[in-house]
Amino acid sequence: MTHAIYVWASYGVAAALLIGLLLASWFGLRAREAELDAAGDGGRRRRNRS
């Protein structure tokens, strides 16, 4: 297969970029939702104490 290295390099870069962005977005969403839940619980506890 002529020039196979260029073809595989292209698909490798594409996979790395697209999967990397997908995972970063997925874990970013999970982290923000966890922070939001924790902040909401903290607020509720403070209100209940007062």
């Binding site: 297969m1 002529t2 020039h3 196979a4 260029y6 073809v7 390099a9 292209s10 698909y11 870069v13 594409a14 970029l17 697209l18 962005l21 997908l22 977005s25 997925w26 970013g28 969403l29 923000r32 939702e33 922070e35 939001l36 902040a39 909401g40 903290g42 607020g43 403070r46 209100r47 007062s50």
Partner: protein, 249 residues
């Protein structure tokens, strides 16, 4: 349009769309990769390197599509001041930058064996490089201010001004004498591509489109959560009673 710009309504619609768009992405990429790498023939001139086109062309189309959406979101944010438009623009700019980077890298990997060079300062290549810098500028401007609204406004102006680059990218191969070949799919007459090569190209393009929808939903939801978090923390800091001086750390 105003009805759909409500964050709560967006969350409901996005929740319903996300599993379907994720499933469509996986299926279209699976079918597209099968045709692109195994079932489609090599080109009679380019040989196996034609397979790079099945990644390069969809990423170029999506880079321009995402930038057009960025400019629309910028206009909506500036004119109607919809909070979702600013959040959407902030969320999709990194996706557009990724597609543009992928287009430039795969173009370079195709150029070396076919043209004998990684890069030329040709009108098409240069205008796409400018598109990449516009995406980076948008990301930088959005995050450059302590006040998120000011950052979004400045980035929206950049997105609108930069939209002039889209027709330059599209028509650069017609307006100037470029090394990059002219359009072969988006022509007024029939596409100049054999159906055996058009099939993987269109399947991969649809895969890229559904990938964009999936990742955009995840990122917009993360931005909505971040904004809620800021509002909640602000409200809690106002509600919290002033602590006596002796108990402060």
């Amino acid at each position: 349009m105003h009805r759909f710009a409500n964050p709560a309504r967006f969350q409901r619609i996005a929740g319903a769309v996300l599993p379907w768009s994720a499933a469509a992405t996986v299926l279209l990429f699976a079918a597209g990769l099968w045709y692109a790498l195994l079932a489609s023939p090599p080109d009679y001139q380019q040989g196996e390197t034609v397979r790079i086109m099945y990644v390069h062309v969809p990423s170029a189309w999506m880079a321009m599509f995402v930038y057009a959406n960025l400019a629309i979101a910028g206009a909506v944010g500036l004119v109607w001041k919809h909070p979702l438009a600013d959040l959407a623009a902030k969320a999709i700019a990194p996706i557009g930058a990724t597609f543009t980077a992928l287009c430039l890298v795969t173009g370079s990997l195709w150029g070396q064996p076919m043209w004998g060079t990684w890069w030329v300062w040709d009108a098409r290549l240069t205008s796409v490089l400018i598109l990449f810098f516009l995406f980076l500028g948008h990301i930088a401007l959005t995050n450059a201010f302590d006040d998120a609204t000011r950052g979004s406004r400045a980035a929206a102006v950049l997105a609108l001004v930069g939209a002039v680059n889209l027709p330059i990218i599209k028509f650069s191969v017609d307006w100037w004498n470029t090394l990059h070949q002219p359009a072969s799919i988006t022509r007024l007459d029939a596409p100049a591509v054999d159906p055996s090569m058009l099939r993987p190209l269109l399947l991969m393009a649809l895969g890229f489109l559904f990938y964009f929808i999936t990742v955009a939903i995840l990122r917009i939801r993360a931005e909505i959560a971040a904004r809620k978090l800021r509002t909640l923390r602000l409200a809690q800091s106002i509600d919290a009673p002033a602590m006596p001086a002796g108990r402060r750390a």
